[in-house]
Amino acid sequence: MSLYDVIVVGAGHAGVEACLATSRLGLKTLLITTNLDRIAYMSCNPSIGGLAKGHMVREIDILGGQMGIAADQSCIQFKRLNSSRGPAVRGSRAQCDKKVYSNIQKAALTNQENLEILAGEVKSLLLDKNICNGVILHDSSSVKAKTVIITTGTFMNGVMHFGLKQIAGGRIGDQASIGLSDQLLQFGFEVKRLKTGTPARLDKNSIDWSKTTAEYGDEKFFPFSHTSKKEFYMPQVACYLSNTNEKTHEIIRANLDKSPMFSGIIEGIGPRYCPSIEDKITRFAERVSHQTFLEPESLTSDLIYLQGISTSLPEEVQDQFLKTIPGLENVKVVRYGYAVEYDYIEPTQIFHRLETRLVENLFLAGQINGTSGYEEAAVQGFMAGVNAAHKILGREEFILDRDIAYTGVLIDDLVTKGTREPYRMFTSRAEHRLVLREDNTIDRLAEISRKLGIVSNEALGRLDQIKEKRSALVSRLTENSLYPKPEVNQLVASLGSSPLSKPLTYAEFLRRPEVTFDTLKKLGIEINDDVEVTDAVEIEIKYSGYIKKQNEIIEQTKKMEQLSIPPNLDFSAIKGLSGEEVDKLKKVKPRTLGQAQRISGVNPSALQAIMIYLKGHKNAVPIQKNI
């Protein structure tokens, strides 16, 4: 008998969601973390959300995740990005008070039934052949559980680089976890190395703010969580913009030999979309300036985060170049920037349910799978938690398709393609972007959430009401018409639209590019003011042509997604596949032909071969023995 149903190792953004999901599903859960003061800690930038990332936060919120709640309550500046662009690529971002954020999450854990928290370090996994049934702690005591979820972030064999100086650790002030990755390596896992970096933290009192430009957030708040209030929880503050210049770049250039990146000490691959300042000035030598935002880390601390200037140069060089940036002439650095190198598990070694292929009952989530970002970590943590619980409860695995959620895109990308650099979600990674919008999260996921059973019936009832109000509004707009009466046309013309020549339903009228709900209101058409209701309806109607086209494309690709490949198919028995293709297919074990298509290096001719093979062996597919 196991003492626990689930053990979650690590209390970062993935670990928090994982243990909350399992305990909310009624399973006895133990969370083990090395440092109780760093629960749900924002190790790098002080913000949650952004394009595609914000979408994911909303997705797990509808399903019963926690991140959106904490982001809403700790938000000190809110922005809807791309609000002037098309509706599918608007994304919410909240600057958060780091301290408040962590405290909210800690409180959620403490108040959670079925959940215990243990301060300790996991040395290794407790294994029975290839089945994981617990962990061994640093004092050699063991704790048993039916499933184990590892969310150790950048801590596996973490090494921090300050110039040419190196210190073991996954984050400043915390130890690295040694041993776990060696054990996984011994077990046959492919373990690789990645790198990430963080900028310096500055003392707010040493900055000359007059030389920077203040940037304020939006006045309107669209909370991430369906359970949040529609007003700000905290006072809203500004961020400040400044720029590097030629002098900054000269100093950096002159000291490149002291950078661990450029002297070849760091082997891990860093994120291309988040390069260090050293990287930026080398790769884009023609640029004379790079922007940087000075962002407060908390309303109750003096720390300022210097966004865009991540660096691993030695401390004295950082002091020197920072002082060339307007406003920072007399800056006091509280903590210097550094780079971290860490181990990750090549994610093609896990199933969509985030359980490893090699060790049963072992789940991985977060940066250990090669991702970057709090949101990417959180949604994996949530999905791993749900799947670990489902496994114990004997329920079906919980997988979101690529046309249902960014979360599904993220996990499918990881397990299908693997990753060579820290993986960040972008809207362009979703081929069906137009149907994965912030405004239609409820439509996409409310029913799935009901089946999942984490969100309360009361909250679900409220979501149903929103959906009902939406469909009532749609009916009203499609059933009622504007008539080409002189007084109507006069009003229409005064609002900048061409006069009607025949009756138009409100919906048809709304499809005119220059017409919005505001125009309809001015024509005296009653539209309620609840954006939760109106946003989705306006977009669905106004952009229906594009959405229809997107759905057609989805239908086409569905055909490939519906051709399922038996889980134990022996690819080496299929004629016409190259050795390389067989290796890749064996490694990834695609569930469908559609997934096989997304594996890089698997040619269309190979898909043809698999398709022909499956047709020819409808009833008897040879099955690979020892998987």
């Binding site: 690529v89 362009s428 004629k575 016409g576 890089s600 022909i612």
Partner: protein, 464 residues
Amino acid sequence: MRIRIEETICAISTPPGKGGIAVIRVSGPAALATAKKIAPGLNKKQIESHKAYFCEIIDLKNAKVDEVLVTYFVHGKSFTGEEVIEISCHGSTYITQKILDLLIENGCSMADRGEFTFRAFMNNRIDLVQAESVLSLIDSQNELSAKMALRQLDGHISKQFLKLESDLTWCLAHIEASIDFSTEGLDIIDNSVLIEKVKIILKEIYQLINSYQSGRLLKDGVKVVLVGEPNVGKSSLLNLLLQNEKAIVTEIAGTTRDIIEGATVHDGVKYLISDTAGLRETTDLVEKIGVDRSRQEALKADVLAFVLDVNERDWETSFALFKEVGGSKNLFLVNKVDQAPEISKAEITKKLQSYQANINPEQVILTSALDPKARSSVLDNVKTTIGSLSYLEEAMISSARQFEKAKYAADMIEVSLKELEKNSGAEFVAMYLKDALVSLQQILGHAYDDQIMDRVFKEFCLGK
């Protein structure tokens, strides 16, 4: 097509029938081993790739079948990408069949039609466009279409599609960057630059699409349909153009009842000429069916050759017919000029113009079945009318599949251009462009992959 890469396949690669020599091709893992079994002399030799070896083929009873040349192509360096043997033997049907039998008795399988090319595609030796060109090359019956197919096999057209693919990817990379990195202070290119770029892509893709017409004509031949009233000499002209007595010619109006078709090559271009029943109102059931068929045939013409009798005083009826069946490309063959030597072309043209004002002199040809020069003057005129066959220096597409995919891509690019000009959401533009890109990639048999993000990272300075 079956997939049986582990099997070694063989087939006679030269056309059936007698010939000086014939070539048998063997492809697959056991190609050389099988060759050594039926030509034991090879065992004594050091066999090198791309070299030919003289040896004897021996049957199961140890009797000599033929003296042959065996050429060996090592795995990875052959047309199919597999180990290949080519046996050049004497071209008797008996010998080729005998060698084929021996190969099969020693474990080879008979190749399906097109299987060698299919294997080349499966082994990534050629893309789909090239695979199609192999078939066109084999089927080519004239110089220009052979040249065209060779250029395609060369990858000439694949390169054009690859360039379009790369240009589209560039546009998409910029659009995606403008969406996903809108907050990062990037130097995002202006919509007007994108619009210009997309217009250039459109122009290039239309060039390819338009080449399909010529490409198809070169490959399949230019279809010329002779139509006109009964007894104006259409069948005589057909015989003249085909240079044989294919159609029955009599003085009796209505002799030709059905479509008579033949092919001829002139100046490197293939022409398909059809003769039709003379168009007139008739009660004869058989002739009536023939007349209906003539109308149908006229619709299929690349060039419609309208035949008139120079001796006929009044062309009123003829032109009534012309108005009914005339196509976009028409020639007027005024026939039997040997019987009216006094009339000049200028007069005839004037007379034609009195019925149809927009006829220009280039469309008018004076013909006579007795004049041997009439053939080249008609066919030269047909070629001029088609106009675009000199396109050959450009890449041309010749398969309907390529045409349809390219056309779809062009349609989607048109839509995205409109969206760009309307300045609607970048994600809408991207959706249509991506759809176009997938269509282009399908032409070559390439899959869609992550190249857009790679381009983004290459081109932009990003930092969160």
